[in-house]
Amino acid sequence: MPTPDLASPNAIIPALRVNGKKQALQEIAAKAAVLTGQSDKAILEILLQREKLGSTGVGNGVAIPHGKLAKLGSVFGLFARLERPVDFEALDGQPVDLIFLLLAPEGAGADHLKALARVARLLRDPEVAHKLRNSHDADALYAVLAMPSASAA
């Protein structure tokens, strides 16, 4: 089954330098705002709203902040690899260095959930995470992120 790319090649930050969770979310929101043409404040707000429920740090150094944005055209993904891991209040307490942002339009419903599930399951694979940590430029990272859908086809 062909699956749409989780994140386009230009939505990848290979080495983001931040000091904490809050700053990481701000930086990612700002980059997403540029790429989607939405307000960075609105994006940050929905991300923080979700974090309030409980961290999206899913363990093993991976975080998947996500939310719904009213005026978005389609599901949008952005991947960032942090230079230095930061505390993300993750369930397992481990600092996070792989962040995948996923935004969905208000009415996306099941598509939003499916995309989220795909991201979560992809990054949960220790081999994928290992490869992402050892890839240093956007192209290599993109190749890792796109690989499973290619091999599954």
């Binding site: 709203q49 979700r50 429920l53 409980g54 961290s55 999206t56 899913v58 363990g59 093993n60 998947i64 939310g67 719904k68 209040e89 369930l91 397992d92 307490g93 481990q94 208000e106 009415g107 996306a108 419903g109 099941a110 939003h112 959930l113 499916k114 989220l116 599930a117 795909r118 979560a120 399951r121 949960r124 694979d125 220790p126 081999e127 499973p148 091999s151 599954a152």
Partner: protein, 602 residues
């Protein structure tokens, strides 16, 4: 003068013996040996053929001490049993404690008849003596091995061992009477049983309520509450026995009632009885060890071993499998429950009854019971941890207990002050999370007592005090436990995200665009889980479908969901873990099928 001297010597020896028992618990903890076995050994060592050389054959004294000790132990057992737990497992535990005891007795008897060359009544007596399990032994060992069981399994074990004692005691006493006074009609025996049960239950009920009333209505001097309750328990016991009821059932029921009503000084009472129970156990076991005749034991070893093996490998498993068949337990759990049916103090104590009434050949029962209990403690006691691991009944996460201080607040029964030292790895410190019903009230830092406002951000080494409802403080423990980080997430993990269970359904629905009934919007997830599963408290991996997603109970502490996993869509099998996932699905499907099969036809 001489008589005073001999009294002093008796006191000295008695106290030294108990002290030896207490100190030996250090040894037991170090080697993981069953503690009660060590107490028995201390008694035997002190006895006439051991190094102590004490000549002791006062069965009457041993019986009196044993009765008092057992009364307190049973009362304490009742006191600690929450009715909520009790109600959930009343059916399985009740069946195990009644029908199960009968099955064990019936299946052990033929082996006893064969191995020990007895007649049938005598064989049944051996079976009855062996039929009760020892909760204290089981829980001490589980705790020592760091094994955390599913609440339903541990509650079943606990309630069962509380309830089967009175029943085994009934049976034994009735059988002794039968043997003593010749044949009696079975109907009159059944009638006697019923009479003892009803009178015991009623007096226990009345005694429990009287104690609650006195505790809450009369102003007892400070420090008198706990002794009052302990003595009250013994009065209940004595009264029930004097009126031909079962005193053991009465104290258990009384304990259950006192423990489940809001009373003054509840924590002090529990602490006091905990100490009293330990002392009672030590005294009882040391005394029973003294009473034993170690030189006679080797000749009973082989026949007793046959009885013990029949009990462990045939009678108990059969009883458990039959009694738990109508309930939702996995086979592994049933096997575990049958393996940890440890025999203990009650069996040895019961075996001293024939000696007390002077039944011919009474020593024989005592010897056999003694050997069987020793074997059970040795074989089963030492392998509990292994059994738990092999049968995989332990819950994956071992919560290291937090050190909790509880302070009663005179003037209110609804709240108490609960204190914890803050450790670095506690979820409260790491993530700042706590249940909404607990209110931070005091922070003690560097010997100074501060309000939360004065203290500002809490840090490691602080002692924090919360105002919380007494019945929920247990659930608070996990927020302050020193929980080592997990090395890696569970391989079988199918949830995508996790949220704490104090999040409302509405908040979750808003973020994920889920449709929920509007009246549920304000419900927190923990309550939603609690209300969704009517027949049993929520268990790990219980799932509630919610539109396209599933809510999965991830961590459950004290029957309450603490973390909820979100499964966003049916898992798409990744090539690497396809077998894992298929296995999980198969298990889930089979569980569903089994549940459907077991559901009674309308």
């Amino acid at each position: 003068m001489e008589s005073i001297d001999s009294v002093s010597i008796t006191i000295l020896f008695g106290a030294v013996l108990v002290l030896a028992g207490i100190m030996s618990s250090l040894v037991a903890l170090r080697f993981g040996a069953p503690l009660l076995l060590v107490f028995l050994l201390v008694g035997m060592l002190a006895g006439e053929s051991g190094i102590g050389g004490i000549k002791f054959d006062d069965v009457r004294l041993a019986y009196t001490v044993g009765s008092v000790a057992l009364g307190l132990i049973l009362f304490d057992g009742g006191l600690r049993t929450r009715t909520a737990t009790f109600r959930n497992v009343l059916a399985p535990a009740g069946l195990l404690a009644t029908l199960g005891v009968l099955i064990i007795m019936a299946l052990t008897a033929p082996v006893a008849v064969w191995a020990l060359q007895l007649n049938w009544s005598e064989g049944l007596l051996v079976g009855a003596v062996m039929a009760s399990t020892d909760a204290a032994a089981v829980f001490f060992l589980l705790h020592a091995k760091g094994l955390r069981l599913r609440p339903r399994v541990s509650a079943t074990l606990e309630v069962e061992s509380g309830m089967n004692d009175p029943f085994a005691i009934f049976l034994t006493i009735v059988l002794v009477e039968v043997l003593f006074s010749g044949r009696q009609a079975w109907t009159s025996i059944a009638l006697l049983l019923a009479e003892k049960g009803v009178i015991g239950g009623l007096i226990g009920w009345a005694g429990g309520h009287t104690m609650v009333l006195v505790l809450n209505r009369l102003v007892l001097p400070q420090g008198m509450h706990a002794p009052f309750v302990a003595t009250g328990a013994l009065v209940t016991f004595g009264l029930a026995e004097a009126l031909h009821g079962s005193g053991f059932l009465a104290v258990y029921v009384a304990g259950l009632i006192v423990g489940n009503h809001e009373t003054r000084a509840h924590n002090i009472i529990v602490t006091f009885l905990d100490a009293a129970t330990w002392l009672a156990q030590i005294a009882m076991f040391v005394l029973l060890g003294l009473l034993a005749w170690p030189e006679r034991l080797p000749q009973r070893l082989l026949p007793a071993l046959a009885v013990a093996l029949a009990l462990m490998l045939v009678a108990r498993p059969a009883a458990v499998l039959i009694c738990l068949a109508p309930f939702r337990f996995s086979l592994r759990e049933k096997l575990f429950i049958s393996w940890v049916g440890l025999r203990g103090a009650v069996s040895v104590f019961l075996a001293s009854i024939p000696m007390l009434v002077g039944l011919p050949g009474a020593h024989f029962y005592f010897d056999v019971a003694f050997v069987v209990v020793m074997l059970s403690l040795l074989i089963q006691g030492w392998t509990i941890g292994v059994a738990g691991r092999l049968l995989r009944v332990g819950l994956p996460r071992i919560d290291v207990r937090a050190r909790r201080t509880e302070l009663d607040l005179p003037g209110t029964l609804k709240h108490e002050l609960v204190g914890y030292p803050l450790v670095a790895e506690s979820p409260f410190l790491r993530r700042g999370i706590k249940p909404s019903w607990a209110k931070l009230t005091l922070v003690v830092r560097d010997e100074h007592v501060q309000t939360p406002e004065e203290a500002g951000e809490v840090r490691e080494g602080d002692h924090v005090y919360f105002l919380a409802p007494p019945d929920r403080v247990q659930a608070l423990d996990r927020f302050f436990a020193d929980r080592p980080m997990q090395a890696s997430p569970d391989a079988a993990l199918v949830e995508d995200f996790f949220v704490p269970a104090d999040v409302t359904l509405g908040a979750l629905a808003e973020i994920y665009g889920l449709t929920i009934p509007p009246q549920d919007a304000g419900t927190v997830l923990a309550d939603y889980f609690a209300a969704y599963f009517i027949k049993h408290p929520p268990r790990p991996n219980d799932a509630i479908p919610l539109g396209p997603v599933k809510l999965v109970a991830h961590t459950v502490t004290d029957d309450r969901v603490v973390t909820v996993g979100l499964q966003l869509a049916e898992p798409e099998p990744l090539p690497r873990t396809v077998w894992d996932r298929a296995w999980i699905r198969l298990r889930r499907a089979s569980r569903r099928v089994m549940a459907r099969l077991r559901r009674p036809k309308p």
